[in-house]
């Protein structure tokens, strides 16, 4: 039998004016197990807490009930006070007689009666309370960043800066991501490479950072503080340790007809290649789909030329196992391929390009060495039409597009228009828009400059049709403000296509047990207050994988994610919430019902030996809960038919005792 002390708080007159606190103290004092019952003016005050501590000591209390304000207010206060006196904090329960009684009832008799019943329920619960101890789990002081774009780079650099090890897993042969393909950045028009490549070099030179390029995450096990990740290093047929990145192989390789993905397929590269000059790591990679040696066994030019002896046609994928305390998803995005919009002619007309293709066409390191020439006849375009919102802002039922605004297109289109007008003033530039959205520092000023200073024609309306006739793109569009249908003869049409999460994100989210929305963006733990954390503990979000954003926003979020990671890795041990689920192995059927409803993947099954009848042993499949992963929602406890699964602090019997106490009148 517990020895329970009951403390009724007056809360000044907040409670005492409506509840006869003396009567409550007296009534509850008669409850079985209650050895001490009193009332006091302010239980949360220093002297109130002292009163409670004295009583715990003098009356050898094993349980405490405080009838006061909401537990959301002072549960922690009273539990801490009890702990100071050597009582397990989870032996303290609160009966909420302020928010639920005195503040909403006027009749003293009625309020007093209800206060007594709520007090009884709390006492009934405390009778079944057990001391709980928060578990601890160690933290592996290393973070994994999945994705080596600007988001992953920034997160990794910030974590490394704080002194922790970071691994970056990048599926492409180099880090850099989409930013490396961009020519200039809005709203300042700095050259993207000029600000990105130094950061890439920092990553390469940072002793705390290890890059797994041309690698993918194979599997993730474990939980916050203790992840075990298998990384697949894809065979690149070049020994990374030996390759010096001299590039002789990439110049002499006889297979020249490989579409160059870095330039969006607008030119070609060799079968052995380094994506771009500032690649990190600067190591060659053989594209096995095109390599003559790999396909026919005859060639071997690169191997003969390589002074470092780095070429290895027999290289295999290898799996590396690493441990981490935290994982950051920075899987990024891709612009949608607008091939499904027949009317816009992307699939049929060479001179209809996407904005990212235009970036390459304008970049000094691009296929045209920075001179804007259209792909079909390599001539300078004189009339250029930009189309906004291609595939963005579609109805949710519309299978062709995305329901969200891609956020960055308005700004980069203004940038493109401005740069073109600046470099080629003889060019007419039309931008067809639905809305121009420019929230951001210096963003609207930037857009207005495009209109006012550079004379870009912004037309409120959409392009309905693009057809090619004798090398001219006939553009039919609406001008909603003048109520006209426009017919423009254009030389180049640029489509601002929707951004979509990288295809790999879905499978990575599954491995991380991190949730995603219907658009395959990672969901945050809280949309407002925890925007860089996933609901799964230890998983953090950086960059566009969480939602469309531009570079400054990506970098801020990347640093925010890093700060969260650092906060986690700085701890030696994690204290777990002790109110977690627990499985009684003797009752568990091993049926997996609980596992299916666990949002955290906290439940695992093992085959365990049990004593059977007649001195036999039998193997049974039983569930066990990882207390470091369990967040204590209790979904599993109801899914369990045998009652094997129960929740500490909110056990079946505790809740039923409360029910009984409330219904007994």
């Amino acid at each position: 039998m517990q020895r329970i002390g009951v403390f009724i708080c007056h809360c000044g007159t907040n409670i005492a004016a409506t509840v006869d606190v003396k009567a409550v103290a007296e009534a509850l004092g008669r409850e079985p197990g209650v050895v001490f019952s009193t009332d006091y003016q302010y239980m949360c005050s220093e002297s109130g807490q002292t009163l409670m501590r004295d009583a715990i000591r003098e009356h050898k209390l094993t349980g405490v009930v405080v009838c006061s304000c909401s537990p959301r207010m002072h549960e922690t206060t009273f539990r801490k006070a009890a702990e100071k006196e050597g009582l397990n904090p989870y032996m303290v329960e609160i009966a909420n007689i302020r928010e639920q009684v005195s503040w909403i009832h006027k009749d003293v008799a009625e309020a007093t009666e209800k206060a007594i019943i709520l007090g009884r329920a709390a006492i009934a619960k405390v009778h079944l309370n057990k001391p709980l101890k928060a578990g601890e789990s160690p933290v592996t002081k290393r973070a994994l960043v999945i994705g080596g774009g600007i988001a992953g780079i920034q997160t990794a650099l910030d974590i490394a800066e704080a002194g922790f090890e970071v691994d970056i897993v990048e599926k492409e042969p180099t880090i850099g991501g989409k930013m490396a393909q961009i020519d200039k950045t809005f709203p300042t028009l700095d050259c993207a490479a000029c600000i990105l490549t130094p950061k890439m070099v920092d990553v390469a030179q940072n002793e705390k950072i290890k890059i797994f390029s041309y690698s993918e995450v194979e599997s993730v096990k474990g939980f916050v503080g203790n992840f075990k990740v298998a990384i697949r290093k894809k065979a690149r047929y070049v020994d990374e340790e030996k390759c010096t990145g001299c590039g002789i192989c990439t110049e002499k390789c006889p297979q020249k007809k490989v579409p160059n993905e870095f330039n969006m397929g607008l030119d070609t590269r060799r079968a052995i290649y380094i994506p771009f000059a500032q690649a990190v790591p600067k190591v060659a990679t053989i594209d096995a789909n095109y390599c003559t040696m790999m396909k026919t066994g005859k060639c071997g030019v690169c191997q003969k030329l390589c002074g470092a002896g780095a070429i290895d046609y027999k290289q295999q994928d290898t799996i590396v196992e690493r441990e981490y305390g935290a994982i950051v998803a920075a899987t990024g995005f891709n612009p949608m391929k607008p091939t499904q919009y027949n009317e816009l002619g992307y699939a049929t007309c060479e001179d209809v390009v996407t904005s990212l293709e235009l970036e390459r066409l304008m970049n000094a390191a691009g296929p045209t060495a920075g001179t804007l020439l259209r792909p079909s006849d390599k001539k300078h375009p004189h009339t250029i039409v930009f189309v906004q919102c291609v595939g963005s802002r579609c109805d949710a039922e519309n299978e062709k597009g995305k329901p969200y605004c891609s956020k960055i297109c308005c700004m980069y289109t203004a940038k493109h228009a401005m740069l073109i007008r600046e470099k080629y003033p003889d060019t007419e530039v039309y931008v067809f828009y639905i809305d121009v959205r420019t929230p951001g520092k210096n963003f609207d000023e930037f857009y207005r400059r495009a209109v006012e200073q550079y004379g870009v024609h912004y037309v409120k309306g959409q392009v309905g049709k693009v057809v090619e006739e004798n090398g001219v793109l006939k553009v039919q569009a609406s001008d909603l403000l003048s109520g006209e249908q426009l017919h423009i003869d254009a030389d180049l049409v640029v489509l601002a296509t929707a951004v979509e999460p990288d295809k790999s994100a879905r499978s990575i989210a599954t491995m991380l047990t991190a949730s995603m929305d219907t658009n395959d963006f990672f969901t945050e733990a809280h949309a407002k207050l925890r925007p860089v954390e996933s609901p799964t503990a230890g998983i953090f979000l950086s960059g566009v994988c969480q939602g469309p954003k531009d570079i400054p926003e990506t970098v801020s979020q990347a640093s925010a994610a890093a700060a969260k990671v650092i906060g986690l890795l700085a701890k030696d041990k994690l204290t777990c919430n002790p109110c977690v689920a627990e499985s009684d192995e003797m009752l568990c059927n091993g049926c997996s019902s609980c596992e299916k409803v666990c949002p955290y993947g906290a439940i695992t099954y093992t085959d365990k030996e049990f004593r059977g009848p007649n001195r036999t042993t039998l193997i049974r499949r039983v569930a066990s809960v990882n207390p470091a992963v369990c967040q204590g929602c209790g979904a599993c406890t109801v899914a369990c038919p045998s009652g094997a699964m129960d929740l500490k602090g909110f056990s079946n019997r505790q809740i039923m005792a409360e029910v009984d106490a409330i219904c007994k009148m």
């Binding site: 537990p71 928010e99 639920q100 909403i104 209800k114 109110c579 929602c633 909110f650 029910v659």
Partner: protein
């Protein structure tokens, strides 16, 4: 005849800690009254509410049971209320099938900001249950004097 008292129903309200219990706190701090017949039991999440608890309440003489949780999509544990919703849908449908008055059970989604909704819901529910009268169809007579 002088012993006839006004019928006061017994109502058990299971409230999830993160939304509805906080909603009840807000109702309190906003002084939005609801009948004293409603007694709240705090659970971490609506998915912690076992049908067993609801039947237990009826067994012990409750006249109405209401469960309140975060709005679908807002669950603190991301998916708990979705599972709770399925469970309660099936359980309530079964109680109805057994001829137990449908109006004695209810589920509401009440956020931490919806103090007014909390109070309104409890007022409505208490009135409905009071109108239904004593629960006779699902109770353990031994628990009554």
């Amino acid at each position: 005849m002088q012993d006839v008292k006004e019928f006061r129903p017994k109502i058990v309200a299971f409230c999830c800690n993160w939304c509805s219990y906080a909603g009840a706190d807000l109702a309190g701090s906003s002084r939005l009254a609801y009948p004293a017949d409603v007694k709240i039991i705090r659970v971490p999440c609506s998915c912690r509410v076992n049908p067993l608890f609801i039947l237990r309440a009826f067994q012990r003489g409750a006249d109405g049971v209401i469960m309140a949780g975060c709005h679908p999509g807002d669950c603190h544990y991301t998916s708990g209320n979705y599972f709770a919703r399925r469970r309660m849908t099936l359980l309530f449908s079964m109680l109805d099938y057994l001829g137990i008055e449908r109006e004695r059970t209810r589920v509401e989604w009440i956020s931490a900001a919806e103090g007014a909704k909390f109070s309104k819901t409890m007022n409505e529910f208490a009135a409905t249950v009071a109108a239904l009268g004593e629960n006779k169809r699902l109770e353990d007579l031994r628990c009554k004097k």
